[in-house]
Symmetry: C2
Subunit: 333 residues, 2 copies
Amino acid sequence: MHCCSRCQRPAVTELHSPRRRADPESLIASARAGDARALGRLISLVENRSPELRPVMKAIAPYTGTARVIGITGAPGVGKSTVTSALAAAYRAAGMRIGVLAVDPTSPFSGGALLGDRVRMQDHATDDGVFIRSMASRGHLGGLSLATPQALRVLDAAGFGLIIIETVGVGQAELEIASLADSTLVVVAPGMGDSVQAAKAGILEIADIFVVNKSDRPAAHEAVRDLRMMVAMGNWGEGSWRPPIVSTVAVAGTGMDDLTEKIGAHWSWLASSAELASRRRARAREEVTAIAVAALRERVGGLPGDSRLDELAGRVAAGQLDPYSAADELVSG
Amino acid sequence: MHCCSRCQRPAVTELHSPRRRADPESLIASARAGDARALGRLISLVENRSPELRPVMKAIAPYTGTARVIGITGAPGVGKSTVTSALAAAYRAAGMRIGVLAVDPTSPFSGGALLGDRVRMQDHATDDGVFIRSMASRGHLGGLSLATPQALRVLDAAGFGLIIIETVGVGQAELEIASLADSTLVVVAPGMGDSVQAAKAGILEIADIFVVNKSDRPAAHEAVRDLRMMVAMGNWGEGSWRPPIVSTVAVAGTGMDDLTEKIGAHWSWLASSAELASRRRARAREEVTAIAVAALRERVGGLPGDSRLDELAGRVAAGQLDPYSAADELVSG
């Protein structure tokens, strides 16, 4: 279809039609050459679970595996986004290209997620060496575990040397971030009563580095002391990494040198031990499993009928059938 | 094996051995007769994903479908457990048997979860008309979506007329609770800045009743006003249920009559519309799907080798293979 009978340009509707098939090869080439729009479209394929993702993933596989991945998590209000922004600025100053994925597990809205955080990230809005994307995962099939590793993979292939994944530290989300990242930063703020809370929730198992942000507050010393005690009580094997505690005032850039130094030290430790390869294999394992399960789940839901599932569910709700027998019928059918 | 050569009582180790096979029929009969230990063991089967769950679920199916299910969710610190406890007391005074499932999506520790909440629930500790169980779901395969509906099913079959599921309102957990409950209560507290937050996270979609707890605080009027405005802005169809707003001071029992009245009104609305049957069918659909997916997932993970998954993951991590092709191989293998 052309614009009009007089010219040969493609019709505008054709240009912008969401149904227009993306050409994976050229999108990837553009994204690798630094085209943010092409990159954005690739990430949209991930978010929409597009069938075109499959050839894209196939094509980019050889370009992956070079990015370093930093996960940042913590309770609401501790300043995760400010830490993320300050960290991005620090690495940007060192000439790195940086991708930021802000994942909001509490929001069902894609794209518009973490609006406030996006605003805080505006320092980087005009810098095409920094790519920022908000992703929402609430209510999505497979949640974080499906979309985030693939978005990561796209950024990796597009040549971003450092990728920061930021998520609010609630429930399953922080575990998933930790499983994706090479280095996981757990951010706390003084006087929020959350350091003990954090310990309770088993945060020690995921933190590679603790960041006490807003450390100009009076209670900062106590937060550091609590964390130090917690780390001291940990059961650390020989040669294992003990999470250091870094004090920052991210909004003023204070402590960022110390933080990047500790991140570098952790990276060196990872690379010199078997840990880096092991973490990345684990990440791939999770990713492959998530894709396999999603495929199987679709098979379950998309059988000869959702009507079949409905019928089985009706019988279960009425007490005529137990859910295991129903599941058997569903899977075998 | 007997206790000793002189008596015929079973050996103590045999009595308490966790390896002793439970006899589903007699456990169910005991639980239905009011034996809390038998009930506890049935719930443990659920938590441990025991293979014995299957015959249990089959046997109890005919006894299910009578319990009313109330979900209670909200941010940390708003007083969910106190509301739960006060509500249990109110219904208990009316002669009902009540089951309470306190589900902690932030904790990986089963059984010991929500210790603080358990303490607050101690008013009911000596009352065998109230059964309280804490469940942890963090990091568990399938999380809430797998264990909670089945624990619910067990309590239902054991004759509890009312089941309260309490969970902290974070991410996926509150959506899952809402999908399980007949009536969902969203608890907020004044001055925690969470009513707007709640609105942002799309809480309107899950709340059947809003509870403004700690309503003796100065900012209570504002919280009620904010919620009222939010409800007024909702897009309500003809005959649909508009969530009422109830003010309580649960720790003093204030407002509980109003709350039980609103819960009753919601129940009447559910029962008189097609909504009750539809919600329960949806619940069964979720449950059956979760079991089916878990079964499929086990099939994926437990293939001729985890070694196979490891090998595929290694190739993905090295960029030699894309994750979709790896998932294909895994599923087809």
